[in-house]
Assembly symmetry: C2
Homo-oligomer: 461 residues x 2
């Protein structure tokens, strides 16, 4: 609703902006009551916190909404941003960057703790009004903004290689960069926006009049007039931090508040963000069960034994991705049993797995896709992959398929599997108390993909 | 498992086939116990029913599975196929065609009741062995099969314009025809396989040696050797029925048994298959609720009022599709709130809506997709659409968007809407007991799409 629009020297919210805001507060209040939410936390941030007529506004908003409204202090607002960032990424030491309309906030993080928070009047509305107020942005104006931001941020030691960005401007820049690079889209969670990609974007945006910047793919029309100044401030912040890229998270203030309310602990920290993401998604679709866990156990056991036998590198990250794919391989059966492997791919890509990069999410989705049928490949996700990733997918999909076949009866009848390798073949020995003819037959049907992955004939004893 | 493979003159199942079958019965029995299913109906059909050693096989299968096994009579098997067909399509008067390995079964249906069932020894295994046993199928051999099938089916009055096909051969033929026509795939439920498309397929298959027919896109490799004979028998059956096409359903024996067990009534009939499909899908995702129903009511009210004002044809089928899209528009938020309109499209396409044709499913999916954001169009689903369908989608999406905005607060604050039209504008009057500034503002934001759909300016009083 752009509640701070048109604010003058008096620092008071304009009547039209207040009415717009109250209309929307009323819709949300109706929504909460209709949805029978009885634990609602309503917060106000900088625009309202700093307004001269804040108390008058809050009184009316409380009346309209029948909700308590908490005005967050600058420190509390920064804290929630920090909570969102450290619980949706693997950030341990570095910075959280939050660019709003009024200010840029940075939080220094050490060992996942908030060390220090700072705020600068470098928000996108403010810098646009002061430095880039015209349809055309001249080189001189842009240079002035860049130098101003650098000066403000200089000193104070706000350095860090790992910078996590939150907020709408950052998300828009990430979407625009993904589109420019023609990457298949499934959100921007975990995307690394590099300094080079950001520089290219600034160049493209600066070449357009302000009124047309909202038409750049990925930039929201209503943000078009603010996006260039925002991009330049982010550039300056990355430079001053000495960081080569900004890791984007889709979590923000709202998720910070939610997690703080949900979790115990001060600060509220999810111990293992990646593991929690995977288990959370598996649970959401009812698949963190004995079958999925046993497929994971069998897959990882094969992975470790074949690595020990020298048949593949045994990379730790790859192992973790295989575990994730094993736990999630069947979630697509929520949509339909037919093609459920493809539906698993869709859900993994689109539900999001905080803590993983888009490339890693693509790899997990591909492994789940190829846990049955088809010949493993990158397909439409290839633009996200690195050299060697298709071989990685083939390897993990082959193990997942064998494990899935050994566990087709879903009752862990094959308790354990031992693998012995020579130059020609890998021989699996199945440990079970009952007849396992069908699991054996199913595993042997994965011979072709196994041979492609490990250059060995699969045999099952 | 091809249990009847290699059966000789003695009519007994071969030992290897029996072992294969028992292994698989065992896996399924494990599966059922592990999944804690305590109401399992296990049935045996023609291959076992007709086998000389059936009792010996059944005794061992019962022992291995610890399940009761029901041997279905030919009449009961036909009945279940009929139940599947009439409850997954809109078939009221016509035929159900079921092509198996051993026989072709036809059921005559009148007013949704089973009138008569017939069976002919024209199954795909049997006719392949007798008429097309070689790698190459000669014209003469094909003609002989075609004439044989025609003669067998002649007389008896097995005619009907509406023929519904079930079984694996029919589904494979449908997938192959869809691929040949380059139609985007989301299953074959409700697909009309025309006699022309079938003739083209027969021609393509006949040009290939039997061992390569399984490589035709859509044909399963393990069915490659049987598909040509099956296709020719289906052709002959359509000809003899006087039908121009075969409507395919994905439901079969299994669904027939499930529905007979689930439903009361003799025969077990879902009163309104299309309505039930839509409500079932909405419920599966928790969305057959007050909000979705109110959006449907408001959309249909606008649809009717604008039709009465002469602004669109007011077609009954279009009205039903709009209702379906309104009930389903939000189901995608199960996947993620972000882009939930796109997730709704995915779920509608892939979950299936028995009773609707693929074109209709595509239209519902597109309306749901465009209930927010973007400019309505056919997109990748265009190959399924007819002339005028993109205008239809635009029209229904525009109404759905207005209704959604009026119901943004999800508490039915806008009880009712009245529409008045003249040559320039459509003016909506909102009936509500409270302030509706935000719904009004939201509806007015749909001006552009509304103008595109109805060539009228949208106004809201």
């Amino acid at each position: 609703v752009r509640i701070s629009a048109g604010m003058g020297e008096d620092g008071a919210l304009r009547p039209e902006a207040v009415e717009r805001a109250l209309d929307v507060v009323e819709v949300f209040a109706h929504f909460c009551r209709a949805s029978r939410m009885d634990d609602v936390r309503t917060v106000a941030t900088s625009a309202i916190r700093d307004a001269a007529n804040r108390e008058a506004f809050l009184a009316r908003a409380r009346e309209v909404s029948r909700l308590e409204i908490e005005v967050l202090s600058r420190q509390t607002e920064a804290f929630y941003g920090y909570v969102a960032a450290v619980n949706s990424t693997t950030l341990s030491d570095g910075l959280v960057l939050d660019l709003g309309g009024g200010s840029l906030q940075l939080v220094r993080v050490g060992a996942r703790r908030l060390r220090e928070a700072g705020s600068w009047p470098l928000g996108s509305v403010r810098t646009t009004e002061r430095f880039l107020p015209d349809e055309k942005a001249s080189k001189k104006q842009m240079r002035a903004l860049r130098e101003h931001a650098r000066e403000r941020l200089a000193g104070g030691g706000w350095a860090g290689e790992h910078v996590v960005g939150i907020g709408g401007t950052v998300r828009n820049l990430a979407v625009a960069a993904q589109k420019a690079a023609e990457l298949p889209e499934f959100g921007v969670q975990g995307y690394r926006l590099t300094a080079e990609a950001l520089a290219d974007l600034v160049e493209r945006l600066a070449a357009l009049p302000a009124s047309q910047r909202g038409a750049v793919p990925g930039v929201k029309p209503e943000r078009g007039d603010l996006i260039l100044a925002g991009a330049i401030v982010v550039q300056a912040a990355l430079e001053s931090a000495g960081a080569a890229a900004l890791e984007v998270t889709e979590a923000g203030l709202r998720e910070g508040i939610f997690l703080t309310t949900l979790l115990d602990g001060d600060p509220p920290l999810i111990p293992d963000v990646r593991g929690a993401s995977v288990r959370n998604l598996a649970r959401e679709y009812g698949h963190d069960d004995a079958h999925a866990r046993h497929v994971a156990a069998l897959s990882l056991s094969l992975f470790d034994q074949l690595a020990a036998a020298g048949l593949h590198p045994g990379d730790d990250e790859e192992r973790e991705l295989l575990w994730a794919a094993a736990l999630l391989h069947d979630i697509g059966d929520t949509v339909d049993y037919d093609d459920h492997h493809k539906h698993s791919r869709y859900l993994i890509l689109n539900a999001g797995l905080p803590g993983f990069s888009p490339r890693e999410v693509a790899l997990i989705a591909l492994m789940a896709r190829y846990h049955r049928k088809g010949s493993p490949s990158g397909g439409f996700l290839r633009p996200w992959l690195r050299r060697g990733d298709e071989a990685l997918v083939t390897r993990c999909a082959a193990l997942l398929r064998v494990a899935e076949q050994l566990e087709r009866s879903r009752d862990q009848v094959v308790r354990e599997v031992r693998a012995a390798a020579d130059d020609e073949a890998v021989t699996l020995t199945l440990m079970a108390d009952e007849d396992v003819a069908a699991p054996r037959w199913g595993a042997l049907r994965q011979r072709d993909v196994f041979a492609r992955a490990f250059a060995r004939q699969l045999e099952v004893a």
